[in-house]
Structure formats: C-alpha cells, structure tokens
C-alpha cells in the first residue's frame, strides 16, 4: 500500500511541469494573450480529440501512422542489425564503408524525400523508404559499434576452449552487442516517428501527419493540435514498448 502511494506521489511530482504547461496553455488563449484562432486551448483540443475518437477517425489515422512506423522500423532493424553485425565483424569491410556510412547518416531523410518520390512514386513505398532511411543508420552504426566493442578477453577465453567461430558469434558477440543494438533501435524508433510526419505531409490522405496538415489548411485548429498530441503519444508509446523489450532482453545488466 505504502509502495503504491509512494509511486503515485512520484508520478505526481514528475508531472508537475506537464500540468503547469497545460494550465498555461489553457490560460493563454482564454485570457487573450494569444488569438484562439491560432492557439486552441487544451480543453477544446481534447474535446476535438473526443469527437474524432467517437467518429472513429482518430483510430484510423493513428493506426495507419503506427503501421507505417512499425513497418519502417522492422525493416530497418532487420537490415541494420544484419549488416551492422557483418560490418562490425569483418574489420576490413568496416574500414571500406565507414566514410560512406558517416556521409549517409548525415544525409537528412527529409532532403532525400523528393528523391524517393521520384524513384518510388507517391504511394506507400516511398513513405516506407523514408522511414526506413531515417531509422536505418542509428541501428546499423550502433550494432556495428556494439560488435567492435566486445571485450576481446571474452572471445579469447572461449576460443582457448576450442569454440568455433559460429559459437563465438552467436554466444559471445551477439549478446555482448545486444545493449548497443537496442539503443540503436530505440533511437531509430524516435527517428521513425519524426519521419512518418514528413512522409504523411506530402501526398498522403491518412495518418497523423496528414491530419495535422489538413486541419491547418481547413482552419480546424483544435484538430490540428489534437494530431500533434497524437504524434507525441505515438512517440512515447513506441519508446515505452522498445524500452520494455530492451529491459527484457538485457535484464542482466547492472543498474
């Protein structure tokens, strides 16, 4: 009981900033500091969200955005981990590709979006590709560094006992790199949420990014803020899921 009470107290103290912000946000348009046309108070935003939920519209946008994010993240995680492992394992490959990858990582997915549209059209494919591109590099480069940072003494100790290269790879290198791989995937996840907005703002007819832009264009300001809040919740939710997965797979780590 006491523990529950304590945790409730902790949650409350952590929420102070958020609550103050919402109060300020409510006050600003109501007291006429900012025009209500531009800044809808949260009460109206949540009412708009409620209406959209009732119409089933919100669920549709959230689900389509979520689907795009997950598809992009799954593909980039698989590709990033596989190639990251290979590149980290084969030092020569790493040397040859390092500069290229550093350059690619710095290349903004948003800048490349027109290129993807040219190549893959305006449909789902180009959207998936931009999300994939945005999240690929943190996954790949973190995996690569995870493999390179394996403590050599661990490899030496099992090698002296006659371990095969496959055994060393699967039983030593992979678990040892796991924490860094998960850091990469988590980082990739937050890039995915950013990229999905950009993807949905150009040539889309659904998704939270589309909702935000479309509401703005039709002067439906409360719905626009609703879409932004939806995106924040999507990001937090995704991060929470990835964090839980990380905790599950690397529970051995010292706190």
């Amino acid at each position: 009981m006491k523990d529950k009470f304590y945790r409730g107290g902790e949650l409350l103290s952590r929420s102070v900033g958020l609550i103050l912000f919402i109060i300020l946000w409510e006050a600003a348009p109501r007291l006429g500091w900012v025009m209500q046309t531009y800044l809808a108070p949260p009460s109206r935003v949540f009412y708009a969200l409620w209406l959209m939920t009732a119409r089933g519209e919100l669920a549709r946008h959230v689900l389509i955005s979520l689907q795009r994010v997950i598809l992009g993240l799954v593909v980039s995680s698989v590709v990033g981990v596989v190639f990251g492992l290979l590149i980290g394992y084969f030092r020569r490959l790493d040397r040859v590709l390092d500069l290229l990858f550093q350059a690619f990582r710095q290349m903004s997915a948003f800048a490349l979006f027109p290129v993807f549209i040219l190549l893959f059209g305006l449909g789902e494919l180009s959207k998936t590709v931009i999300i994939f591109w945005a999240s690929l590099w943190p996954v790949l480069l973190n995996t690569c560094s995870g493999v390179k940072n394996v403590d050599p003494v661990l490899i030496r100790s099992v090698k002296s006992m006659g371990a095969s290269k496959l055994f060393i790879f699967i039983k030593i290198i992979l678990p040892s790199a796991a924490p860094e791989i998960f850091t990469g995937i988590r980082l990739g996840g937050s890039y995915c949420v950013m990229a999905v907005v950009a993807a949905e703002m150009i040539g889309a007819s659904s998704g939270l990014g589309y909702l935000v832009l479309y509401s703005e264009e039709t002067f439906n300001v409360p719905e626009m803020y609703g879409g932004i809040i939806g995106l924040a919740i999507l990001g937090i939710g995704l991060n929470w899921i990835l964090q839980s997965a990380e905790k599950f797979f690397t529970s051995w780590r010292e706190v």
């Binding site: 099992v158 090698k159 006659g162 040892s176």
Partner: protein, 274 residues
C-alpha cells in the same frame, strides 16, 4: 630418450621464437623479439610456474599454448603431437576473470561444456559439482557483477575445471585480488589440484606464489624471453598456509629473489620495460 620418459612430458617447447611486428617511435615497422630460443618441458601432472620480469614473454608463451597466438619458428608438442590451434583439452584462466556478464554464475560454468556439445542436463550437473567445489553453490543464479573479485575468479576457475581440460593455463589469475583473498584462493587451488593432478602452467610475477604452488619454477630472462633456469621446489605436499613461514621456503625465496633482481637490473640498463 626412452618412450617411457617421453610419455611423461606434457608440453615440449623447442627453440620457440615469436617476433611481434610493432611500429617504433618514428612510425616505422620494426620486429620485436619476444621469445627467442625458448625451450621448456612441462611434465604430465605437474604444477609449473613461469616466473620472470614484466614484459619477458610469459603470457605470450601461455597464449601460444592456448591457441590464441602464433609462433614464428621452433616446435611445440602437447602429448607428443604438434600444438593444435583448436583443442578441447586446454583451458585458460585470465587475470580479468573473463566471465560473460549476461550469464548467471551457473550458466558461465556451462560455457565450456556447451562448446563440447554436452547435453543440458549433464551440463547443469557438472557445473553444480564444480560450483560446490569452489564454495559458491549458493550463488548459482547471481550475475558476475553481483560478486566480489575473489568470487568471480573462483567462478572462472570453476568454469575451467568443469570444462575438464588436461592442461590448465593460468595467466596471473590472482594478481588483481587483495592479499587475503589471494592467499585463500592459492590454497584452494592447491587443494583442488591435489585431487586430480592436472598439468598446470601458471604464469606469475610473484616469487612467493610460485614457490608456494609449484613443483618446479621456470625462471625466464628478460626480453627476448627464454628459460634461464628451472628450480625444483622440494617442499612437502599437501602444502598449507604455514609453509610460508618455514626455513626452506625462506631460503628458496632468497635464492630466486636474487636472480630476479639481477634480471631486473639488466632490463633497466637496456632502457626500461615495454
């Protein structure tokens, strides 16, 4: 040499040379001779220590035996066969424990057995047995970071014992531990070794440790390393803590100490350590 006396020799090293390619201060490639004409016989069931100044190549020789390093010339045989790069018959214990942090204590003990494809039930049984032997049965589900340094090294020793190699290589296994823990583990290792008399090659830079543990101490010269002298330690077994205070122990110690001093001075006159 008769076939009989040949069978007694576990490791035979003849004229082993190892040259490392390094870059000197100007960045040019240079050969650094670490082992030169290194000759050593280690007998079956013997506890032998390799003692010598820092950087003399003791660990290099151990790594070569463990299949972790190559040698450039010379010949090494184990049980009369040329040294294999991959082998299920040797295990090494490092100063830095080398435990897998994502595995519990018992799972760490099972690593070597997994390499040898021993089935799960049997693995667990063997691992438990050796964990008990080092007095850590109560800690089987802990992770290495939850243990003290001494306990971790116990786990590392239990792991290598569970693997059941006929050659145990130990590279300054107790060097990172505090004095009290070190002394306890030395006696414990001796106790375990007395029960099955596996061949142990034990690298150390502690004279006391070498005398306490060994049947013979091979004393290495400074780099390029070779065996300068081999001294038999004729102290009775089983040895206990008390043997450190005996007159024989003191006289062997004095003898070895003066040799090590002379070597150390020689290195300093060459311009220091690595």
């Amino acid at each position: 040499m008769t076939p009989d006396s040949l069978a007694m020799v576990k490791i035979r090293a003849r004229k082993v040379c190892r040259v490392f390619n390094i870059r000197n201060t100007r960045g040019a490639k240079e050969g650094l001779s670490v082992l030169e004409r290194f000759d050593l016989d280690v007998n079956e069931g013997e506890f032998m220590s390799l003692l010598g100044p820092s950087g003399c190549g003791k660990s290099t020789f151990l790594n070569i035996l463990a299949g972790l390093d190559k040698f450039d010339s010379g010949k090494i045989t184990v049980d009369g066969e040329p040294l294999q790069e991959q082998s299920f018959n040797r295990g090494i214990v490092f100063q830095g424990y080398a435990l897998l942090p994502w595995r519990t204590v018992i799972q760490n003990l099972e690593v070597g057995l997994e390499i040898r494809h021993i089935e799960k039930k049997e693995r667990r049984k063997i691992a438990r047995h050796y964990l008990e032997l080092v007095g850590l049965a109560a800690f089987e589900n802990q992770y290495p970071h939850q243990l003290s340094g001494g306990m971790r090294q116990r786990v590392a020793i239990a792991r290598v014992l569970a693997y059941h190699p006929d050659l145990l290589l130990m590279d300054e296994p107790f060097a990172a531990l505090d004095a009290q823990t070190r002394e306890n583990l030395q006696i414990e290792l001796l106790r375990i070794w007395e029960t099955d008399k596996k061949t142990i090659l034990f690298v150390t830079h502690s004279i006391d440790e070498a005398i306490l543990m060994s049947d013979r101490v091979a004393f290495m010269s400074s780099r390029p390393g070779h065996i300068r002298e081999i001294i038999s330690i004729d102290l009775p077994r089983p040895r206990t803590e008390d043997i450190r205070n005996s007159a024989e122990f003191a006289s062997i110690r004095k003898n070895l100490w003066s040799m090590l001093q002379a070597e150390a001075q020689q290195i300093q006159s060459y311009g220091g350590y690595l």
